[in-house]
Symmetry: C2
Subunit: 126 residues, 2 copies
Amino acid sequence: MGIVRKTKSVKILHDEFEKSLAAISVTTLIERFSAQMNKTTIYRVLDKFEDDGYLHSFLGKNGHKWYAKCNGCSSSNHSDAHPHFQCSNCGKVDCLPADVVIPKIPNRIVDVSQVLLQGKCEQCYS
Amino acid sequence: MGIVRKTKSVKILHDEFEKSLAAISVTTLIERFSAQMNKTTIYRVLDKFEDDGYLHSFLGKNGHKWYAKCNGCSSSNHSDAHPHFQCSNCGKVDCLPADVVIPKIPNRIVDVSQVLLQGKCEQCYS
DNA sequence: TTTTGTTTTGCACTCCAGTTGCATTATTTT
DNA sequence: AAAATAATGCAACTGGAGTGCAAAACAAAA
Ligand SMILES: [Mn+2]
Ligand SMILES: [Mn+2]
Ligand SMILES: [Zn+2]
Ligand SMILES: [Zn+2]
């Protein structure tokens, strides 16, 4: 499974994620590339990028979908259990290299943890 | 601001949250009380309950809204910075009394943290 | 390079959580 | 009881996300 053909859409989206490490929301991509491709194509290409282990996805503060580059993932091995940070001032979203500290919960098994931090980013931090 | 009038809808929803400490999703409430009130009313009453510091809200794993009782909050003073736990087996969602451990991020100010843990709850933990 | 088989795309639709405007109804105040 | 105000129901709308299918693009074979 995964990307097979190097189409125009695939190249454009791939280039966009290579430009920077920041996460990008789906709605941003749809708006940004509305002249180049259909939103359905964007959803489908992102889906495949995730299958391939090239991108991972998560939900921002409104429950909307964001994508960011993986770090050493493959189609068979995803490990993206890191926190994400959304700046309340400029809206930028980043992956944080920090470890997630899972609190000890008696009689429960924790499999997945989603952590979204909000505040001021490096640029907006005065 | 907040709830002023004791209407039938307000009483029904209040009673529902008094029954148990577990969180309830908006869609569950809409389905459960479809015979008693309109979904718009449910959204509006929950909104006010949150304003009043009686309930707090958060997003579940699909980005859909959940509500749960606050613990000592008021309209002027909300402090609901605890993690939430969603059971992947039975779907139940709870507030966790544990503290959120915010990782140290250089040059960033963290104001809010959303933590959603997923796994097996007490009942589903074999 | 042309033909062939397969994948990808665009389009028009559907779905669903959540929201809004407005007329009607319920509650509170006088 | 009447007046003032707040809550409700309804229907329509919004916006993110997903689908089915015919047309277009691509890769590989001829
Ligand atoms: Mn990330
Ligand atoms: Mn909670
Ligand atoms: Zn910023
Ligand atoms: Zn469970």
